[in-house]
């Protein structure tokens, strides 16, 4: 009897417990939440390469569970991520493709060439539009994630097409086109902010719709394809990024009312002057559209299905007749009412300057950079807008030990001058960059000297130069040093150096105390006291002033402590990590300074 009862009880208990699993088959926590790659492949019923592709396209990445149930050597994915892939129509599409490929193989194996070619014409394909919409629900999201995309596209634009690695010519060309389209937009809207030439390549930073976008473009030289890189993975990434950049470009072009995709002059395209062709296209297009808007007669939209010949005809119609004017037009635009401060500044940097690039300088980069800052540029080549003999050229960029024939009307400078001017935001003196000289160091604009607390020598000289230039341009009339509350002046002073900023603060404090003293005096006068107590009051004020400083520090410390107490344990840890990082930075700066001192002593 009793045995039966207990058995019943346990059965009841089991029924009550929803998640019961027999002993030894327990799947809870990490074991239930994560699965290994092979499990995932089994679940999705695809092969490894398709799985990799799916993961990249869907944005599913491996995770590191706290407990690795299947061992340390496995790659884990979240179960929900895999379910997410499983519900995507792309999975079915890829399976279909694979089945279709088998059909083709079969036809080929049976020597049925006709069938194979027929099958090839109707291969199933897929688009990634939906995936992009899914991964980047807003345009800003897409912009935020554009760094990697741009670097990858720029890289593939410079790679050689290798059949063995399945890097085909179309891919390289489309990457090239996309990168040029992006550059043309950035240059047209003057969105470029920083350029840094490093050994690896050239870093650019643009600011589009408030997002800082950094990318790395390779130097103009042959890239090698190293064998430790898995190019099938890279190609999948590029495939996704190409589509993404296409959409982004579309949106950006339409935001400045330029048609996309652009139609380029075939002659310029053949001469590999894509970027120039694009700028011309953009200028022509915007001008035409604005004209149309003014006249109020809008042409009916041409569909894409139009004949090629008609398109070219149209494009030629769009292109302005005078090339030089097209370039000058860039600067003459006066639609800067919606531009922010930086853009305005960038637009004006190389205003009224005309550049000519010699054969040996990196053309691609400079053709992108100079127009982005409002300059006009030409190069040595067939389709160039103006030749070397043009008298209006103000700067010629050369990179050779000596220049044979020299025009007196222009300066011969090295390409670094352009980059440095851009980074410092001023036109630097050209004499240090003249032909045949070793230029001053090329400093990285990505280092925040203010935050780092350390200024390289050249940065300091430039800063002084900059400050001097500012004084020249806007000497502040009638502003005495006493007017300390003027924010602009404060800024300018703080700009020069830290120590001076401190001095300014101290002066301000002094002024505050004197003010206080004055008020107190007034009060006393009002109360009817003679000025016998004035001296005492002054002393009191001083004492107060002295005591206030440590007191403030104490308060700050206290608040820090309480904040620390209030934080969660995790946050506290992070806070400490931050502190440690800060200390490290400080130590580094100290080290740098010390080293500098040593060098100075030794020489």
């Amino acid at each position: 009897m009793t045995k039966k009862d207990t058995a019943k009880k346990t059965v009841a208990k089991l029924k009550k417990n929803k998640h019961y699993r027999p002993a030894g088959k327990k799947r809870e926590g990490n074991a239930a939440r994560y699965m290994t790659r092979s499990q995932a492949i089994k679940q999705l019923q695809v092969n490894l390469s398709v799985f990799r592709k799916l993961c990249i396209l869907k944005g599913v990445f491996p995770r590191e569970p706290k407990k690795k149930v299947k061992g340390n050597n496995q790659t884990y994915y979240h179960v929900k991520d895999i379910a997410f892939i499983q519900h995507d129509p792309l999975l079915e599409k890829l399976r279909e493709q694979r089945a279709y490929q088998k059909k083709i193989h079969k036809a080929l194996a049976k020597k049925n060439e006709d069938l194979a070619t027929r099958l090839r014409t109707r291969e199933p394909s897929y688009t990634l539009d939906r995936l992009i919409r899914e991964r980047y629900p807003k345009f800003v999201d897409a912009l935020r994630d554009l760094d990697d995309c741009l670097s990858m596209v720029h890289l593939f634009a410079a790679l050689p097409a290798v059949e063995r690695l399945k890097i085909n010519v179309e891919r390289v060309h489309s990457c090239r086109r996309l990168s040029h389209e992006w550059q043309a937009y950035v240059a047209r809207c003057h969105k470029l902010r920083k350029v840094f030439v490093s050994v690896k390549g050239i870093y650019y930073q643009a600011e589009v719709e408030g997002q800082k976008i950094t990318w790395l473009a390779p130097h103009a030289m042959q890239q090698v394809l190293p064998d430790d890189v898995n190019f099938s993975v890279m190609l999948t990434f590029v495939e996704f990024y190409e589509t993404l950049l296409g959409f982004v470009n579309f949106r950006l072009y339409h935001s400045i009312s330029v048609k996309y995709p652009p139609i380029l002059d075939p002659r310029l395209e053949a001469l590999a002057a894509d970027l120039y062709a694009l700028t011309r296209y953009m200028n022509g297009n915007t001008k035409r559209i604005s004209e149309e808007q003014e006249s109020g007669s809008t042409k009916p939209e041409h569909t894409r299905g139009q004949l090629e010949g008609a398109q070219f005809e149209e494009s030629e119609h769009q292109l302005p007749s005078n090339e030089d004017r097209a370039l000058m037009h860039l600067i003459e635009e006066d639609d800067d009412n919606d531009d922010d401060e930086d853009t305005k500044k960038c637009k004006k940097l190389f205003k009224n300057m005309k550049f000519y690039l010699s054969r040996e300088v990196p053309r691609e980069s400079l053709l992108f950079v100079i127009p982005a800052f409002g300059g006009v540029v030409s190069w040595e080549g067939d389709a160039a807008p103006f030749t070397e003999a043009d008298q209006s050229i103000t700067h010629q960029i050369v990179d050779r030990p000596s220049q044979g024939h020299m025009y007196l009307s222009r300066e011969y400078i090295q390409p670094q001058w352009i980059y440095d001017c851009i980074n410092f935001g001023v036109i630097l003196e050209a004499h240090r960059y003249l032909v045949g000289r070793v230029p001053p160091p090329h400093l990285s604009p990505f280092v925040d000297n203010e935050a780092e607390g350390y200024f390289p020598d050249y940065a300091e000289t430039i800063k002084r130069f900059e400050a001097a230039a500012k004084n020249e341009v806007l000497p502040m009339p009638g502003v005495g040093k006493d007017d300390l509350d003027d924010p602009q002046l404060l800024l300018a002073e703080g700009y020069l150096s830290r120590t001076e900023a401190i001095e300014v603060a101290e002066r301000k404090k002094e002024r505050a105390t004197s003010e206080k003293q004055y008020l107190e005096d007034l009060k006393q006068e009002v109360q009817g006291h003679p000025d016998a107590t004035a001296s005492i009051a002054v002393e009191g004020a001083q004492v107060e002033e002295e005591s206030s400083r440590p007191h403030l520090e104490q308060v700050a410390e206290d608040t820090d402590g309480t904040a620390l107490m209030m934080m969660s344990r995790r946050n506290r840890g992070l806070f400490k990590a931050m502190k440690i990082a800060k200390d490290k930075k400080k130590a580094k700066v100290e080290k740098l300074k010390q080293r500098k001192k040593q060098i100075a002593e030794s020489t």
Binding site: Y203, Q222, H254, P441, V447
Partner: protein
Amino acid sequence: MGKKPKSSRKGKKAWRANISTDDIDEFIEKSTKDALTGGSLAEVPNESLFFVDKSKDLSVKRKIEKHREKVLHCDSVLQRNPFVKAIPSSNDKKKSSMKNKKNKKDSTEASTSKDDATKDGESGIVDLWENEAEGDIRTRKVVKTSVIPAVEVDPPGCSYNPNFEAHQDSLAKAVAEEMQKVYQSELGPQPVPLTVQGDAIEEEEMYFLEVDNGDDEANEENEDAPEKSSSMKKMVTKVEFNRRARLKDRQKKESEAKKKAEISKEIDSLPTIIDEIAKEDEEKQKRMMRRLVAKQERLKQQPPRLGRHKFVPAPTQVLLSEEITGSLRKLKACCTLATDRFKSLEKRGLIPPSANKRRRKYNFAYELRFLAGDKVLDLYFIDDGEAEEAAGVLIDVRVEDEALRKLRLKHLEEMRTLAAHLRTYLRGRPAGNVQRSRNFCSSPSVNRADEAAAAMEEEAERKIGWLLKVIFAGTATAIGYQFFPYMGDNLVLQSISLLQVKDPFFKRSGASRLASYAIDDGRRMKIVELGGAQELLNMLEAAKDDRTRKAALEALAALTKSDKAAGALHKAGAIPIVQSTPSSVEEEAIDKYKTGLLKRFQDLKYDGSS
């Protein structure tokens, strides 16, 4: 219950028993029940069974109505005022969004069908984010895989024309990375040897050995066993039994008392225990914090372990001090940007790190021979004199190859790490190779490698010091050795500096290098001018084994072929040193060289006494 007696299943009785009468019984039961209750319910019409409840159940009604149209108080207040337009409440939105969703589904379906129609060639010609303002986009929570940015900007020292201090910083970092690799391979665990020293044991013998051992153990067990069993069998007397019981009792009591005392003691020391616990807790907390901080720091540098392989960062791309020209045209840029991007993907944890593919077993001798083969190919490009030199190198390589084979393992290991180090260095920057193909005819392509080696040496000297200098000298010679025919001043200097190293191996290689370099008078004099003669003599004097002496003598013999050089050697006091070298039985060459040298000195009328 006992078992039923089995009966035959044949016969009428058994057959009857198998007919079921359940349905009949059931029907009878039902009909009687109906008769008793007044008819079955199935036959009764609906009206008589159900009725509409028209009485008012207020609470239920209120509930239903409340759900039917829920107007928030705020809305109702606003509705009363004609000038204020009510903002639709969140509830309404939800409903409408549900509707929208349905619409959207339809539209997306339509759009996908359209997409299919328009093939992938034309994707990118619509505004994907046209209606993003509607705000009805179901988004998946995106998990940020890592805190590392997609494009990490190089430190300022990696600029093509860097600031001096920043460059030193970056360079130091790069050197430290390389050295760490070297040290790791040096200090790491020794690989398990493939063979073990000692005599081989034949299979049969092994079998016998095992048998013997087994026998011994079995015997011992057999001996022990009878004793135990006999003791177990002993009878226990009553007295003994009682005694044991008492003992047990006493022990129990004692232990209890002890426990009590202990507990009371612990109670007394409660405050200290509490303190201890608090301290422990604090320590735990601290440890956890430290771990957390360390993990955060680590995640800034590298991804978590995502697969079988560990993430290996790419080497820093920084110019050497010699390579900084300040000209973009002459920049030796990195041409493996694909690696950089791939490593970035791995670093951000987007793909699990892959195995390092270069794992070919390295054979130094093979590499040397291979390079020598390369030289043979290059012979087509150089003139006769240089061809002769190259041939000399080939011979030299063969000799060196054998010597290497005989060398102790330690040396081989050293050379191997050096060579590996060098290889990674050269591979990491194949820019040189690209350039090399470009200007092959104009400049001696190989000098680049020499320069690189020299530059590395210099950098290292600046950074780390003497120990490194030795190692880098080795590296430099390894390179210089490979590109022997193009050897210039730089390498003569290095060969001479090799003579100064303590290790006889380096000395020998330096001497043999000098010997093969000295083929005409100018070169011989160069060696002498750079102080090679004195060093060689020093080496000969200090040499402790025959092979070193032989190498030194060989080099000296090569030098004395020039009259001037012989004069210089004489001035340096060569004759007594040569005379004092002991002749050896194994190496006949020593005697030959010795006599040859002395004869040469006599020919030139240099006296032993003077």
